[in-house]
Subunit: 345 residues, 4 copies
């Protein structure tokens, strides 16, 4: 009953197998190996982006920060949702890497930015055109969002149109978003300047790809990546993971399965009287359940996180408390059923 | 009819005279002169703060940023109102000086933070206690606010109590706030860790004092001041300005007069059918007036700034448009009457 | 004939096996797993440092920068040899992470700092004691140095005594240094405040440990690590590598073997008339050989790097050109003999 | 007998008079006033640079740092002499403003860089062309140097040719350099990308001009200036100082006079047996004199700074100790004679 995060899961056997196979002799370091070359070709094909630049990375935070720092001057503004990982969970990484850029937070609807709010914010900031003010530089969207909601291609196009700014996509759960949307990779990414493509949460050991659809960020990104300590020597082992993840659409298979588990869990929670706090479109379920359910589930060994202020397990047993349940590639239907039983029995 | 800003005014004759008098022979540089020593004594007395450290400065932005960067680690949070100068008008100076700290913006009521909102924000951020999150570090309040509203000593005490964080006070219009509040300097500043005391907008040529009520910030502040380029050699000429400004309570006299002009203008605007957008407690008046009034006043030479989005002078003549009018130490009653006539005739 | 770098080698089979074994079920993320707990205990024992803090990392550059940024204020000085990796190969990572600290470069003897030069530099900088100047903060030494030379425990003690500053140790080749010195881990590290312990170059896939012998750097280091993007979620796979590396002294076995290969190569180069540019104390060999030797070796497939300015392969065939040869854990005696043959035949 | 620094002098009467005259009514803030417009025209004419951009500043450190940060990326190298003010006296301001750029220090001859050393350094760094390395970005020269030596136009051209990088000129003593060189302003500046033109040390109260001969740095410089807190509101009072300083070549008159005082002092020191440590080409005199001379001169009230390590006034009375003597615009021949008498009698 491990629902704490998709990063508590292990590595998918096919990816581990690929690591073992990649461990063959010498390879040029710093992403000058043949696995990385193959990965670049593979992703260019996938996204129908023949000029895209691809870099093997290991850290979502590092990838987000190095990409965004390449997209904004130190005095610029990056727009994102107020719940974005870059705002909430990266200990000021974007101001750090960029040398001072700020995040302007959108309240959004649910956990997603809306085009209207974004347009108003960017238009107002652009209109100032004064050295005292900070100029708009970029937009960062997270998909799936931190609360499991989905931007579809049309949503992304609307944000691009509303902001007229380069778009960064935090794809820590890119596979889940793809599986949920039914879109093609090209449809999902055609409006983007850059992408943090995360495989770690969907079965890899530690593998992300930074994708520069706009190759003009090359020098700035490579510099940020280097000085940030993210130009790793034995990069073949990162690229090999992502290649295995893409092979035979393993990534989509794992994400589809995790999303299905999420849906099953959402249905079950509704059946036991829980209230879903956000739409469940992928593998994340946020739900309010009476305190007593949480107490007994945790006593029976369920592992997941309470969310937000005031979620202590002592108090009125009927008070509804918000919790986050995350399904991963390795979560089974039996796990869900056991969790639901632990909560409700 | 110059109502664009209090920084368009010149230097008060007594301050200019003090500059001429200070121009007497040699003086040790970098604030090791006798004027600065006297200023330190004078401000310690004024604020009843015998341990306070005092630094002559010339820039409000530089003073704010160097002080706040001494009060927060690079990964910390500084809370302020969403309209604070440090957020809106300093081109990311706080993230820059601090090496990455972020401003968390309070919506407030009018242009002031409320204790409840601040408490909720700080409590939530403190509760996370997770290396992913940014820890609360400091609060910055502006008094008078950017929209001319006043925090009284009890308001400041409430913010201190609500946040339990060190307080920085952006006092670009400290004199106006003092004149409006009727408080003593000690009452106004007793809760503060640091103060940016601005004289420039109230009659000086270019003079601020950074006041460290908490001397533990000494090394960090002096370092930020130095590397920011704000440790000026001929500092005697800054300190001499502030000494003259304090002498015989000139500062309060000038601020009282500017505030009275503000009140007169507010009454006059109400009489000609304008709507005040914020309480007028000092020398700043924000008012909505029909577009035709603005058009004719500007045609007659009135100088002031339209405010916010959609304030173009072409369009429906009856549409109310927001403008900012600022009274300075040198604004006369005749100036106000001329402005009102220009708007309404 | 791969002598380009020890990071072109693969992963030692025992370490790969440990990765496969660690891939077992769920684990708490962000170094809260049992492998990391065991690693901490293991390293505390090894270094006889019961209060030391240990963090699994993947990047030498990231580890160096995050450690040093915890040891210096933004306005401080870090002393290092002019050939240090942090100066020459990390694209300004220390000024970046620290928010402005500078490296002061020691000319040293060979590739090592000398106590006298360091003492003079630190003493001079300390004596200034002026806010205009940058204060001494830390010393960083690399062992083996970038040119393969060794600091013995007595050398390190002399640097500590000369500088009276906290010491950082860039241990990208820590195992090689240990094997070369014959010292115990405690002897080698007893003077240190922090250590970047690198396993990647000695058989791991991507694994370093940041060791804080002085736990007072905890908050600053953890913050730098987080915002730098080096707090990886599936950290068990890093710690598992290092545990396997330590197990049964595999690390020393591999380093001893690589050092022996280095010595064999050094002898062979001397025999074919090459001139060693630095003492060969570990697995790095810098040698000057006639251009024609390089030309023919490279034509026969030898892979290694020419070093420094003016090392183009076209020109006077007898001109001696400097090259770097690196032995790794997987280099064999046969590889050395083949290289020597390629150079000299 | 004030020879401590040219910044201990007061303000020249003509400049003070100009300040009083500029205190006339309202003026647009932030350098949008008529004095600044006139200053721009005046400097464009002086330097025969019709596209140059001019900004009134108050701080040499702030001007240097904001200019250099506009000329280098955060990962770049700025070359300067090891005694440059930006290295020795600005508490890491360049790494700070630039977000991480480093200074590479030239040993030079005396206190000046040599073209050969600079060429070697830049060529070597350029040749690396590797993301691990830091790329060359700019050169900063100080003229007069910190030790009073002069670069003539041909010297500057040689540095430009040797480096093929944009040149920044720290002109804290630009007037002294001009007076010493006999060159025209155009000859002295024709190779420059940017200039920190300092008037403070030559009779102003606090006035520098940032001159961008290359206007492509506009956005970056204006942004750095703003976020650094150097876009001052009442800028007319800065520009008015520089205009008065330029008027009737007052600047050259004052510098010529200070340089003549420097020469007189140098001759006198030689006559009393002192040894000049650097060529005296302007208003700075570095000389070694027996400790007893320093002791008695200081006892008689002479004010100047001992220089470098080991200059304590207690010890062997005959040991030669280095001191710095600075002549300013207000130093008289009688002052020199009194100083020499105090040293030697």
């Amino acid at each position: 009953m491990f629902f704490a995060s998709d990063n508590t899961s292990g590595v998918h056997p096919k990816i581990m197998e690929a690591l073992v196979k990649a461990n063959d002799g010498y390879a040029a370091p710093y992403a000058n190996d043949r696995w990385t070359a193959e990965l670049t070709e593979r992703l260019r094909d996938l996204f129908q982006a023949p000029d895209a630049l691809v870099y093997p990375m290991v850290s979502g935070t590092g990838t987000n920060a190095a990409l965004l720092a390449a997209m904004t001057p130190p005095w610029g503004i990056v727009y994102c949702h107020k719940t974005a990982h870059i705002e909430v969970d990266e200990r000021n990484s974007v101001p750090f890497y960029s040398g001072g850029a700020k995040l302007k937070l959108m309240a959004g609807e649910g956990s997603r930015m809306t085009p209207n709010e974004l347009r108003t914010a960017v238009t107002g900031d652009s209109a100032r055109d004064d050295v005292h003010a900070s100029p708009p530089a970029a937009v960062s969207l997270t998909n799936l969002t931190e609360f499991g909601e989905l931007y579809r291609p049309a949503d992304i196009a609307a944000l691009a149109e509303a902001s007229r700014l380069p778009l960064h996509f935090d794809g820590a759960r890119f596979a889940n978003a793809m599986a949920a949307s039914g879109a093609t990779p090209w449809q999902m990414t055609r409006e983007l300047a850059t992408l943090s493509l995360g495989a770690t949460k969907t079965g890899a050991m530690g593998a992300e790809a930074a994708v520069l659809f706009d190759p003009s960020y090359k020098e700035a990104f490579e510099s940020q990546r280097m000085r940030g300590g993210h130009n790793l020597s034995k990069a073949r082992y990162i690229s090999a993971q992502i290649l295995a993840w893409l092979e035979g659409d393993l990534w989509l298979e794992l994400a589809t399965q995790a999303n299905a588990i999420g849906a099953r869990l959402a249905r079950g929670i509704a059946e036991i009287g829980g209230e879903l706090a956000y739409r469940v479109e992928g593998n994340l379920v946020f739900a309010r359940l009476p305190r007593r359910m949480h107490v007994q589930a945790k006593a029976k060994g369920a592992v997941y996180n309470m969310w937000g202020p005031g979620t202590a397990l002592t108090g009125d047993p009927d008070e509804p408390l918000l919790a986050r349940f995350v399904a991963s590639w390795s979560t089974t239907e039996a796990n869900v059923d056991a969790l639901l039983a632990a909560l409700s029995d």
